[in-house]
Symmetry: C2
Subunit: 457 residues, 2 copies
């Protein structure tokens, strides 16, 4: 009995149309990474579990796909103990960041720091599949490690600006700084409540000032602390005015009178970064968003998040600075900053906004109909000459009904068709038809330039 | 304690230099596939084990990497039975052919046949790692399914010819035909001994005619059969002469007098294919090689193998026609033909023959040295303008010793360096140095064209 074929849940096949569209996104991102001097690396799909475990929290450990040891995996297992850890030594890559950290430490003697790398590879997570969430999906990451300069942050902002400019998507680039958030917690007098305070700030839009304050009180913050938070929430003006007001607060000007050195350092970073952004000039809006709480557990400086302006979807790109990514693998004090593009969401945005270029609908430019062996042998040098010029050409392989060959061209969106038979051979010509307009022309067999000009219009 | 980082045996990290070289190979192959109208698909890294098991023989089943079911894999296991099959439902892709067959059957209603697809993805095999053999490696396959025309075989030969032409590698393209081999066995009177007879023919070069005949006798072939084989081994002349001589033998002209219809059909295919090859014109030599025994278990028509002429290594590309690839998944009678490029061996050939282009050694064209914040802000618009023209530009992120910045350019093989300081800012200029020649020029800040012309020489 034949099997009914299927693929594991949460995974996907990509057919030619989706591949063309996905490649368009990846190629765009890749080309921009390259103009900024980022170079590509690849790491194996499988890593040792010792590399992966404990890096993504307890929940992450559960979501790792484990690979059964090859050979007789159970031969020496102790069945009185949990088996998974005994019979699996390898797991599938869960993200690109931990393999990158492992790569940097393992190859540190061959790497020129600062090391600017990008990586576009699939990752696997045993998450419950649902709309927009897959068990296999691509990540597109760029990171630079070994430099603390805000030039790196600037370049990531420029990369985001350029990528979405090329893709034709208007975005808002939001920037926060972990040190500033720490500073707020310090001047509130609750240095350990960074996350509570950030979450409260985040809720301002949704629940309003009073509700936020009530929640703060519940979390055990004092009246005085809430007063400080209130002054943060009321910050207004453009970026430099906001930074100036925050500097006052951090410098002892808040209700608590506390000075936060960390907060001031964060403001210096923000100020320098925005200075660079102004000098470089970016097209999409960039703003400070103090509610940005992405990666509070590991980011130590800048935090980025990118939203599409004309399409309702979550963050389509994000990242930040981390100060000790490689420490766990034995290389301390390597500061880095990185960004990750969410290919699947960007795909949905381009689909939703109808931003994929028309050219992606067809890969083949011209189909030579098959009228028989003699005709094909006559056409072969023409097809070769066109291919040598980079034109994608198909010869219908079978000498079958023309209707069937037309249908093939139609279903594959092939824009030009050549029906070349005995008359053309006798005259030494090739006939080509534009299937969209019906426009038809005849060319001398050797006039490749003429043919290319006709099919390029 | 920090872990000493490593990767699973048989897997590899690819750093920037190797990635540039590998991408050069993949991009070349991909571009050629595209000009022949092949379009790309991708399938998931993990397939259901039911899709994979039994497709690669017993040995292949053992070499599959199995993925432990997520959740508590052992919760419902029956420990009195073998566990692997109970706790693993998925495995890693072992090649691209079986997933392609599964794809074709699963999506048959959305596919326009003949279906020309290519696929460039990694595969995984739990083979014992050794020099040149990895547990994770890329395959680059092109197949067309749903057409029996020899035009398809021709195009695969043209693709091989073009790819290696672009890569600068001289190759010999060897062609055999399974039906011809069957025909030989039939006219020998031993239709079930195709493999023994082919292996014997294959050994002719190495052990000579007499030893081959002795071996044939050991395998139980009669004197008369050996006489027939001898006449095959003595075939000479160019391709059309060889085909004509073989046609005589198949047509009852051999010592046995047996006629083989299958053999004659195979010769028709070979003759048609070589006719097309002559009409199309290929640059590398193409020859019939009756000893080609690749894939005798599944190929049913043409068999291809490609050897590098100037570098000693095994086959670097191969393929053939199969008549029932999709039958096991419930779609019978779909004939297809495909070819697979061995990326790792091609890499070794290009390395060995020093054929990688020089341009791959550096991804960044120009480094702007960092002389301070003011200088950087002055240079940022220049860097952006160059990047907009597709030039890869780096700004050294840290304002550190020039020696360190020079070393960075040197180690990354960056060919141009700009040291722009106070004097240049005052004059509104940018200074650029060719690090190889020492040649140095100064440009007005806005003269992007002039800069590009200088760094493109």
């Amino acid at each position: 009995m034949a099997q009914k074929p299927s693929i594991p849940k949460g995974t996907r096949d990509f057919g030619q149309q989706e591949m063309a569209e996905r490649n368009y996104i990846f190629d765009t991102i890749r080309s921009v990474f390259r103009t900024f001097g980022y170079s590509q690396i690849e790491t194996p799909a499988m890593e040792n579990l010792s590399t992966l475990l404990g890096k993504y929290g307890d929940e992450g450990d559960k979501l790792l796909f484990r690979i059964l040891n090859s050979g007789d995996a159970f031969a020496e297992a102790d069945f009185s103990r949990p088996l998974a850890s005994q019979v699996c030594e390898k797991g599938l890559r869960y993200d690109l960041t931990v393999p990158f950290a492992r790569f940097v430490v393992q190859h540190q003697n061959d790497i020129s720091f600062p090391f600017k790398r990008f990586q576009i590879q699939p990752v696997w997570r045993a998450d419950r599949p649902q709309k927009g969430r897959y068990r296999e999906f691509y990540q597109c990451d760029a990171d630079v490690i070994g430099s603390k300069s805000q030039i790196n942050e600037l370049e990531l902002v420029q990369i985001v600006d350029k990528v979405f400019g090329l893709l034709g998507v208007n975005v808002l680039i939001k920037i926060n700084n972990r040190k500033v958030l720490t500073g707020f917690a310090e001047i509130c007098g609750f240095p350990d409540k960074v996350i509570d305070i950030t979450v409260a700030i985040d809720k301002l839009d949704k629940i309003g000032l009073e509700a936020v304050e009530a929640e703060m009180e519940q979390k055990g913050l004092t009246k005085e602390a809430i007063e400080v938070i209130e002054s943060i929430l009321k910050l207004s003006g453009d970026t430099s005015e906001k930074i100036a007001s925050m500097r006052d607060l951090m410098n002892g000007g808040s209700a608590s009178g506390i000075v936060s050195e960390t907060g001031l350092k964060g403001l210096d970073e923000l100020e320098e970064l925005f200075g660079f952004i102004e000098a470089a000039g970016v097209k999409n809006p960039v703003e400070i968003d103090l509610s940005l709480a992405r990666g509070l557990n590991y980011y130590t400086g800048a935090i980025f998040e990118v939203k599409a302006l004309d399409f309702e979807i979550g963050s389509i790109c994000g990242g930040g600075r981390y100060d000790n990514l490689t420490g766990i693998f034995g290389l301390p004090d390597m500061s880095g900053v990185g960004i990750s593009f969410g290919a699947d969401r960007i795909y949905d945005v381009l689909k939703g906004l109808d931003k994929f270029p028309d050219g992606l609908k067809s890969s083949t430019k011209i189909l030579f109909a098959n009228m028989g062996t003699e005709e094909i042998e006559y056409l072969l040098p023409v097809a070769s000459a066109l291919r040598n010029e980079g034109v994608s050409v198909e010869i219908y392989p079978d000498n079958t009904k023309l209707k069937k060959q037309f249908d093939y061209a139609d279903r594959k969106n092939i824009p030009f068709l050549s029906i070349t038979g005995g008359d053309e051979i006798a005259a030494g010509t090739v006939q080509i038809k534009n299937l969209a307009t019906g426009d038809q022309q005849t060319f001398p067999k050797g006039d490749i330039e003429g043919i290319i000009s006709f099919i390029s219009r």
